[in-house]
């Protein structure tokens, strides 16, 4: 966008005429990092996410300090005479839930689930998306037709519905298995839109002169694919993957909210919201704690993703296709 670049020129300080400085070459990574550092919001998000990761890693410590394992109920101390959960206080720092479990400890374990599922499924989806997209765009012909159709059909599937169906019919009871299934389901429904974008990119790259030059020099298809095409996709893949993480986190939370994501007793922010929804009226912290954590995490990942995009491609404005 020409308009944007006029409005926002690269803010380079005027070079002093003398003494002549040696020009030091900077790697693309250094350039990107220099631009990223100027984006205050993205830096703050990075800090928030690091804190969130520390909060998640400390989950067993929280359980130790409070003396409240995440799956244990404390009917005597956590529920009042009327059977209502107690609010944030000395014993239960962020309150207790309707069964008398510690919300703080559960939220910390929930953070682990959100971060692990969000990051792993985004990585898996991007791996799959790049593989399919590059193959489809580069090879062309029948391969392209088949792969493109597969992506089309995946996109036409009602994803939430099929995800619920998958999770229900597999009748999984173990936490690890449900975690794996959740990650696979999310990756499966995210790879197609990813692959479509990569496919388009590869198809336009294929027309570029430098590919033609490589070909005329006698480079093999494999070499062109790995040496010329893939490195040119790195920026886009990084941006897309980082923006896929918050989407995946929301996906997991939604599945767990409906009771078909990560299985109980392992807490997830989504299942905490689902379980507590009957008692929000009296116990607001059951809504506020998981909702705020969830929002903070997705917002930070979105801001970080925007920051990464601006850093990697200074010409792009902050508009990219949604989802």
């Amino acid at each position: 966008m020409s308009m944007m670049s006029e409005l926002e020129p690269e803010a380079l300080p005027p070079e002093p005429a003398e003494p002549p400085k040696r020009v030091v070459g900077r790697t693309p990574f250094q350039l990107a990092w220099a631009r990223f550092k100027r984006d205050k919001l993205a830096l703050v998000s990075l800090v928030v996410l690091v804190l969130m990761a520390i909060f998640a890693l400390m989950a067993p410590l929280w359980a130790d300090w409070t003396g409240h394992p995440y799956d244990q109920t404390f009917p005597k101390t956590a529920l009042d005479a009327a059977g209502q959960p107690v609010g944030p206080g000395k014993d239960f720092w962020l309150g207790a839930d309707q069964l008398g479990r510690d919300v703080l400890v559960r939220a910390a374990y929930g953070a682990r689930i959100s971060l692990v599922v969000g990051i792993l499924s985004a990585l898996l989806a991007s791996l799959l998306g790049v593989a399919v997209g590059v193959l489809s765009g580069f090879v062309g012909g029948v391969t392209d037709t088949v792969l493109a159709r597969i992506m089309d059909i995946t996109l036409a599937l009602p994803y939430l519905l099929v995800a619920i169906m998958l999770a229900t019919t597999f009748q999984i009871s173990s936490v690890t298995a449900s975690l794996t299934l959740t990650i696979l389901v999310i990756a499966f429904f995210s790879f197609a839109s990813f692959g479509r974008i990569i496919r388009g990119q590869v198809m336009s790259l294929k027309q570029k002169e430098f590919i033609e030059a490589a070909r005329s020099l006698g480079a093999s298809n494999t070499r062109i694919m790995f040496v010329d095409v893939l490195p040119n996709l790195i920026a886009q893949v990084t941006v897309l993957t980082s923006l896929l993480i918050p989407t995946s986190i929301v996906f997991e939370a939604t599945l767990s909210f409906l009771g078909v994501g990560v299985r109980l007793p392992m807490p997830s922010w989504g299942s905490m919201l689902g379980e507590g929804s009957d008692v929000f009226q009296t116990a607001w912290w059951l809504l506020v704690v998981p909702a705020v954590l969830l929002l903070l995490t997705t917002l930070s990942f979105n801001l970080l993703g925007d920051g990464i995009r601006d850093a990697l491609d200074p010409r792009s404005d902050r508009i990219i296709g949604k989802k």
């Binding site: 944007m4 519905l161 229900t168 939604t254």
Partner: protein
């Protein structure tokens, strides 16, 4: 054009068949034991066998699949395993609620998104634009079910205690229609408003950078006319395209909103059916939703070529 539409329709049928088969195979590989659901916990093995036989579940899978396809070709979606009602009538009972939900929210998010997007684009990099950007990011980061829970908590629970009624629960839909629908609409539209603001803003900025906009300004046209008549008109094309696709896709994503607000739409129907193992209803709704997506895409593609002569259908 006609050839294009026919080709796409044939392709749509292929997609529907694939989806139906996929779901059928899938529900057969790992079924929820529906006979247990019907028979109850005390049913004997004989009774369970009898129930399976009545539903035709004792036959080989390939025979079941053949019968299923035969029925489908005649446009018959079959009967519910649980209560024997035809799937078509179950769906048509629930569909109006879901359609009202989706279209109401659609109007809200389209108008909201376009208005905010234009506002933001005409003040690019200004204070208003920055505020909108923040709003967009918050909107895109808020899961719809969290929005629904928060709205329900604030407007129904808290303000309800204070004597305001923003939300009426319970059937029938016709009574207190607005009170019942307004919160679900907002919950469903919130994220989409953010997405459409972003889309409209980007599209507007693209268009406002074009030469013919400069020409219009050079002719001395008033800014309003430049923005709305010349700019918005062509900036809307991608937005309308996306709107068509999203309307179709959203019919399958109302499960959460319907659940939180207790609306008895198609989403709730399929959610309950999945838990009960009611295969015919699950397949019926899946097909309906996929059909909506496929048709929405077709309409958008054809509409696009009518609106924009530069797009050729091939």
């Amino acid at each position: 054009m006609l050839r294009f539409v026919i080709r796409r329709l044939l392709y749509s049928i292929l997609v529907l068949w694939l989806v139906a088969t996929l779901v059928f195979v899938f529900l057969n590989v790992s079924p929820v034991p529906v006979e247990r659901v019907i028979g109850g916990p005390r049913a004997t093995t004989d009774m369970l066998e009898q129930i399976r036989a009545n539903l035709g579940l004792d036959q080989p899978v390939i025979v079941q699949y053949g019968k299923f396809l035969g029925r489908l070709l005649r446009g018959d979606l079959g009967d519910s395993y649980i209560n024997g009602t035809s799937v078509a009538s179950l769906i048509s009972d629930r569909l109006p609620t879901t359609l009202w939900l989706v279209f109401g929210a659609g109007v809200l998010w389209f108008l909201g998104g376009v208005a905010t997007g234009v506002y933001s684009a005409t003040r690019a990099r200004g204070l208003g634009d920055r505020a909108v950007t923040v709003f967009v990011l918050i909107g895109l980061s808020t899961p719809p079910f969290v929005m629904a829970l928060v709205l329900l908590f604030v407007f129904s629970t808290k303000l309800g205690e204070a004597g305001f009624t923003f939300f009426e629960a319970g059937p029938p839909l016709q009574e207190h229609f607005l009170q019942r629908m307004i919160l679900p609409w907002i919950a469903l539209a919130f994220l989409m408003v953010a997405a459409y603001t972003r889309l409209t803003r980007g599209s507007m900025l693209d268009v406002l950078g074009e030469d013919y906009i400069r020409t219009a300004r050079a002719k001395g046209l008033p800014e309003r006319r430049v923005v709305y008549r010349h700019g918005l008109r062509s900036a809307l094309t991608p937005v309308v395209t996306q709107f068509g696709i999203d309307l179709g896709a959203l019919i399958g994503s109302t499960i959460v909103t319907e659940k939180v607000f207790g609306l008895q739409g198609v989403g709730q129907l399929v959610y309950q059916s999945i838990n009960l193992g009611d295969t015919p209803v699950i397949i019926g709704v899946t097909l309906l939703v996929t059909f909506a997506v496929v048709i929405a895409n077709l309409v958008v593609d054809v509409g696009y070529s009518v609106l924009d002569p530069r797009v050729r259908l091939s």
